[in-house]
Symmetry: C2
Subunit: 472 residues, 2 copies
Amino acid sequence: MTPPPAPGPTGLITHGPADLVVTGCTALTHDSRGEIVFVDDATVVVRDGLIASVTAGDTGTGTGTGTGTGEEIPAVERIDGRGTVALPGLVNCHTHTPMVALRGLAEDLPAHAWFNDWIWPVESNLTERVVGLGARLACAEMIRGGVTTFADHYFAMDEVAAATGQSGLRAVLGQAYFSSQGPEGRAASLDFALRQRGAADGRITTCLAPHAPYTVDEADLAATAELAGEHGLLVHIHAAENREQTDNSLARHGRTPIEILERAGLLDTDVLLAHATGLDTARDLPVLRRARGRVAVASAPRGYLKFGWDTTPVRALREAGVPVGLATDGAASNNTLDVWESMTLTALVQKYVERDPAWLTARQALDHATLQSARAVGLGDEIGSLAPGRRADLVLVDVTGPHTQPVHDLAATLVHSARSADVRTTIVAGRVLMRDRRLLTLDVPDIVGELSALLPELVDRSHGGRIQEYEG
Amino acid sequence: MTPPPAPGPTGLITHGPADLVVTGCTALTHDSRGEIVFVDDATVVVRDGLIASVTAGDTGTGTGTGTGTGEEIPAVERIDGRGTVALPGLVNCHTHTPMVALRGLAEDLPAHAWFNDWIWPVESNLTERVVGLGARLACAEMIRGGVTTFADHYFAMDEVAAATGQSGLRAVLGQAYFSSQGPEGRAASLDFALRQRGAADGRITTCLAPHAPYTVDEADLAATAELAGEHGLLVHIHAAENREQTDNSLARHGRTPIEILERAGLLDTDVLLAHATGLDTARDLPVLRRARGRVAVASAPRGYLKFGWDTTPVRALREAGVPVGLATDGAASNNTLDVWESMTLTALVQKYVERDPAWLTARQALDHATLQSARAVGLGDEIGSLAPGRRADLVLVDVTGPHTQPVHDLAATLVHSARSADVRTTIVAGRVLMRDRRLLTLDVPDIVGELSALLPELVDRSHGGRIQEYEG
C-alpha cells in the first residue's frame, strides 16, 4: 500500500496536477462573517472533488492554497471563465423531482382540487419507470439551471437515487410516507435512508420523510423523531404549508402544525420544514426559537403566488435564527425547478409583503441561495461557499449578455438581471455536468421520448382512486 | 409603371416566391372571438412584411391564403420551426430603453430616494451618445427576449428612433416633457412626433409624452390633449404610479391623477397610462368607463414588487373594458426588459393579490401578452396576432428543453415554464433579427464597450443637480 501524499497547509493534497482549474472568472466568496465578497479575475482550483483554492489571478491574493496564478497550475481539465461569475451551485431545498412528469397537468386550481381531483388520483398510477424517468428529466433541468444539490421527498426513491447517480448531482433523499400506510411506510423510509446513505460516491445523503402533520399522526411523528435521533438522520417534512392548514390544525387539535411537531419531539432533531407559509408567528416563532434541533425552512415562493397563499415569513424566521433555503417544490404545482427564479422571487416578494424596498437586498438573496440553503439541507459545512475544503460544487454564470450589461452592482446583476439560462457550466464534486450549456451526463430527447410514451397511462383518472384525501 | 400583381382572396399578393416561410411549428393564433387556438404543424407564410397565411401543414386547414403545405411554397428564406411555438412578438408597452445604462445603479431603495438621490441627478448628465448606445443595448436585450415592439418614453428620442431603425424593431416613441421646461418641452414632443411618424420604413409610430400629472400641470395637459386630437396622436403618460401619488394628488388638488387627466381632456384622446397601481378604484373606474378616447394601461409588475407597491388592478380594469398591456418600465428600476417575465409575473401576482388561483389563467396571460398589448400601444389592428394581413412580427420559442417537457397544456408551458431565453428566433416585419439566438442587426460587445467608457461621467453626482424633484 502506497502512503498518501503529504497534505498542504490546509490539509489538502496540493502536489501533482489539479483535477480542474477555472481561470479568469469573478468568484463569489464569503468572508469570515459570511458576508459576500466578489474576487475579480479569480482562479478556482479543484482537487479530489474539493475546492483547493480560490485566488485572485493577478495578485495571488485570496483564500486557499493555490499558487495565485492559474496559468501556472498544471491541471487535467481547464475552463476559461472569462465573462462569467463562479458561484456555489444552487441548492433546491425541497422538491419532488419525478413530478416533472405532471408539469402543467393541473393548472389554475386551488389546493383542494389540485390534490384531490388531479395529483393524488394520478399518483395512484405511478410506476418506478415513470419515477426514474421523471427524476432524470428533473436532474437535466436542474443542471441546466445551475442547481448542484437537491432535497427530494417522494416515492420509489431508489429510482431517484439511481437518477442522482447517473446525473452526477448531489442530493438529500427521503422516502415519503403517510400514516395510512401503517408502520410499513415509516419502516420503508428508514430502510431507504440507511441503505442509500453515502451512495453515488458519497453525493447522496438521506433523511426520513414523513409527509406532513396532517397526514402523519402524532405517534408516527414521535416514532420518526426517535429514529432520527438514533440514526443521526435529518427529517424532511411539509409543515404549515398554508394558513388554512394551520387554522384546521388549531380547530382539530388545538395546536398549530409546528406545535404538533414540537410535541412529537421532532424539533429536538435536525428538521427541514417545507413551506411554512402558514406559520402562526405569535405562537410558532417562540417554539422554533426554543427548538433543540437544527430547524430550517425551505421556501418555494412561486407556488405560493400561484395558489394565492401567503409566502414564507422570511424576515421573522431570519430574526428567529432559522435558516431559510430556496426551493421550487415539484413541477406539478410550480411548473419549473428553477431555483434561480426562486432567488429572484424571494427578493421581490419579500420586499412586497414587508412593504420595504430596503429589505431582502440582492446580497441577502444570495445569502439565502448559498450559505442558508446549504445549512437548510444539513450540508452547511460541505457546500454553499467557494472555500478551500468545501465540495467543488460550482456554476459559471455568463454576465456578458445584453440583459446583464452594464454591471454597476454585481449582486443586483445576479439576482435581478441574470437568469438560470445564463448558467453556462455546472460542476459537482469537481466533475463537469454541463459545459457551455451542453449536458454531459443525461440525454434529454431519449428521456422525454421514453417518458412521453408512458403519459397516457399515467394521467388516466378513470379508476376513481387517489393515494390520499386532502383536507389540509 | 408596372401594374401591381393581382391580389389573392384576402387582398394579399400571393404569387411569386414568399419572402419567408416557417414550417413545422405550433402556431398561437386567435379565433374570431379572440380566444387562443394552437395550430399544430403549422406553416407561416410571410410576404411584404405581412403574414400571408397560417395553415396546418398536413391538412391545409387554418386561416389565410396559403396552399396548406409549407414544403411546396417557394420562398426566399425558410425556417424549420420544429420543436418551437410561433407566437406574436411580445410588446413592451412602457419602457425607457436608454435607462439600461443605469441597470443596477440604485438598488433596494424607496421611490423617493431612487428618484431624488440617484436617477434624476444622474439624468442631468445624459448625453445623446449615452441615449443612443443605451437604446441599442436595450434593443439587443429585447430582441433576445422575444420583444418585437416597444413603447418608449424618454429624452433625446431621435437617438432612440435611430436605434430602432438600426435594430429592426417596431416602436411607439414619445419625447418626454415636464412643465418645468416651459412650453418648449411640449413643442419639442410634438415636433418629434410629427417628424418621426412613419420612420424606419413605417415601423415607428409616435406619440406625445407628458411625464406625469404630478410633473405636468393641468394647462399643459389640456394643451397636450388638444394637440393629440388635432394630429391624431396617442398620448403616453405615467399615471397613478403608486397609491402615494394618488393620496398626494387628492390632498393637493382634491382629485385623483385619473380625474386630473379627465378634466384636462386627455381621456377624450387615445391614451396609454403607465402603471396605474395607485388607482382609487371607487373613483377612477367610473371615470375610465366613461372615457371617450381609447384608454389603456401598461403594467410592469416586477418593479411594483421591488418598490413594495400595490400592483395594477388588472381584474377591475378588465371588467371596466380597459386593455392592460405588459411592460417592463426602465431597467434602472426593473433591472430587465424581459416582457416574458412580465407575463409570468402578471399571472402569478394577480392570482396572489386576488387570492384566486383560478383567476388570470395561462390563456388570460397570453391574451395580455398578445391582443391586449397590441391594443394598448395603439396597434390593435396591426400586430398582436398571427393572422393574414397583420405585420409579420413573430417569435419562435423552443419548447424542447428539459424545463418545458413534457407538455400537458401548452399555454401553461409558455407562461409558467418557458423563459425569454427560450426564444430562438425573432422576426419583425418579416425580417429575421435573431436566428438561433444569434443577433443579426446589433453588435453587443461593441455597444457595451463604447457605453462602458462613458459610465464614470454618467454616474457622477458631484454636481448636486437633478432634472426634477420627486414629491410623488
